[in-house]
């Protein structure tokens, strides 16, 4: 077996059985920048569509990243959304477009809305005012969740939100509550209350933190979970750890890198790299493995939550197989993933 196929052999975290990720209606994926939350959002969408669910992935940034992961040649999805692969629709929620849609719904007509949006004062207000992008984006998610088919069934069984990185992600989720406390009356307050109810309903909404098993992401994830528990009130029941390096050497030879370093350079034929090079490569993988193992333990310890391990993909996540492997690991029980 090559090191690539080997899963880490230590069991981390999981103590109690978890409900499936796919039972929720809304899963909000967040995490520090660079942890691969977009990848996780895409893998979750694949897992759900393979389970026969109709999935919507909502992106919130400027770019469209999920479609490129799902299909090799992906057309733009935009605000209207597009079914990128069978059963998976992707939409990019542009706050300004969502605002126009919301205002038109509130007023019942479109033309004064376009006048307001074209008004320079209003544009300056929007540029400086905090919170409205977040609120309107979540409002759109709420609206999408309420959409039904002709048979009365929800249009989407599962909505996966690829939320901004942790700091901004939490701001995002805090906004409805802040609006409810700052705005005393009116439709805006009622809308914010509905969004808030959706977010704090543990049957409906789950926040899925994505971490890397390194120092900063571990600390930030622990803080995120802490804040979710004590302030925001959105359910979180597991932590996804992405890119975990597998054990690189047979268990009986944990110091293989050091052994390689001791071999004289003349040991091997010219077809292989020098022993010192083999040692350096082996050392690198060992260091990553040990670092990851340490912080997976820290994550479980600091958050008190089960940890789902996604193995590092040496061939890159662009590889067609990778997302499928990650999808399986994602919905597998944490214990199975670590077995």
């Amino acid at each position: 077996m090559s090191h690539r196929d080997a899963a880490p052999s230590e069991a981390f975290g999981a103590r109690s059985p978890l409900g499936s990720l796919l039972d929720r209606r809304l899963v909000i994926v967040t995490g520090k920048g660079g942890t691969g939350k977009t990848t996780v959002a895409a893998a979750l969408a694949i897992a759900a569509s393979r389970a026969g669910k109709r999935v919507l992935v909502a992106e919130m940034g400027r770019g469209e990243h999920v479609p490129c992961l799902l299909a090799p040649v992906a057309p733009a999805v935009g605000y209207a959304g597009r079914e990128v692969i069978a059963g998976v629709t992707v939409i990019r929620i542009d706050p300004l477009q969502a605002l126009g849609e919301y205002l038109a719904l509130q007023l019942g007509v479109r033309s004064p809305v376009d006048r307001a949006l074209g008004n320079r004062s209003f544009q300056q207000l929007l540029a400086a005012a905090p919170g409205w992008r977040e609120l309107i984006t979540l409002g759109k998610v709420w609206h999408l969740g309420k959409m039904t088919r002709d048979d009365g069934q929800p249009h989407y069984d599962l909505i996966v939100v690829d939320a901004p990185s942790t700091g901004h992600g939490l701001t995002l989720l805090d906004v409805p509550r802040v609006v409810v406390s700052a705005v005393r009356a009116g439709p805006l307050r009622r809308n914010a209350e509905r969004v808030e109810q959706m977010l704090v309903d543990p049957e409906h909404t789950l926040l899925l933190p994505v971490a890397l098993a390194e120092e900063l992401p571990t600390r930030e994830t622990a803080e995120l979970v802490e804040r979710l528990r004590h302030r925001v009130g959105i359910a979180v029941d597991r932590v996804i750890v992405n890119g975990v390096f597998p054990r690189p050497f047979p268990q009986q030879v944990p110091d293989l890198d050091a052994r390689l370093a001791r071999l004289p350079d003349s040991t091997l034929s010219a077809n292989l790299p020098r022993p010192s090079t083999l040692a350096a490569c082996a050392h690198h993988l060992r260091a990553r493995f040990e670092l990851n193992r340490h912080y997976v333990g820290e994550l479980a310890h600091l958050t008190g939550l089960p940890v789902v391990i996604l193995p590092y993909r040496f061939e890159g996540i662009e590889h067609p197989e990778s997302l499928t492997v990650l999808a399986d690991a994602l919905i597998g029980a944490p214990r199975a993933a670590a077995a």
Binding site: S2, H3, R4, K32, G33, G34, G36, R62, G63, L103, Q106, N119, R120, S121, F122, Q124, L125, A127, A128, A129, P130, G131, S165, G167, H168, V178, V183, R184, A185, G186, P187, L188, R189, E214, L216, P248, F249, P250, Q252, V253, L256, R259, L260, L263, S269, N271, L272, P273, S276, T277, L278, A280, C281, H283, H284, L285, A287, R288, F314, G316
Partner: protein, 397 residues
Amino acid sequence: MSAPEFAQRTLLKPRIVVCVGCGGVGKTTIAAAIGIEAARRGRRVLVLTIDPARRLADALGLRALGNQPQPIPRPTLTRLEVPDQGNLSAMMLDMKRTFDDLVERFADGPEARDRILENPIYRHASDALAGSVEYSAMEKVYEVYGDAEFDLIVVDTPPAEHALDFLEAPQRLLEFLDSRLVQVLIHPAFAAGRFGFRLFERGARRVLQLIERLTGFGFLEDISEFLLAFEGMARGFRERAEKVRTLLLGPETAFVLVAGPGRESQSQALEFLDRLEAFGVPLSGTLINRVRVWPEGGDPPKIPNDEHADVELANLAKALASGEGPDFPAEAAARAAIAAATGYAELVRRDARSTQELRERSEGHGRYWGQIPEFSGDVHDLDGLARIADAIFRTAP
């Protein structure tokens, strides 16, 4: 740009170095390493950081918060080969407090100050007020810039949602305060039209009516009170913001873009580059942190795989087994060693591929391009930072 020229531009010439880039790529580490190298070249340096990793904070002596520079002790500096005329301090920025300080400084007297600080809108919004947090970091830079104690400030920017919030936010805020909407809101009598403004105000009024319809009674009053109090400090704030901006875009400041080799980080860095260019920010160079490089340098060779490697594998297994008992899993170990080299070679190639576009874009404009190899384990002490400084400034990329 050559490496010595990059060093000239980022270590010796500027008064301020701003490290920009998305979160999680090691901006703080790079900022600290730049600070160490500048101190080694005799400058008096302050590293101003937003949210350092705990062990990095420990290494820099930043356990205590408090918005005050913490000097690195002389014996440590000597060990890092910092000459007598150079020194290094670090400071962790308390952004909320910096913004409160700003209100304190520019408010129209203590009464106005308290009205702002206690206004519910300010309390809810000051950490979300469209880039105010990012701006307050730069505000602090400006304050320290006036301090003769340091001749170089290295700052890492907060992980902003919008790349250049720290430059753009004050402008947005001021435009908003100036807007007719705000003027109508806070000076309703003036705007009522006695001076013939009526026509201009119609659009603004319509927008206010729309907001009132959505938010009901009371909200606009809160906003109006907040803005009225805030308006009093607008002039001081405006002058200050203009000075900060002039400083940051001027010849005394150098910008360094920091990115990781990962796909996500690279695409964000490209977006960042677009914005920097659109804004006319003078970017000195791009540094890619934690790149996997082949131990012998250059491209990794093709490593023979199982079918063709039986002889090599056997040789390696034999060498590893030498001096071991019969139970030693020599063949498994040899396979693991080759698999490790194959896997690592793949990572090296992958990083080279993923960084190519950014590299071309960066070098295409005559900017410096540098790669910092990934060291095993986290970098969490000053010696580790010094090694990174060596990798940036003392070895060819």
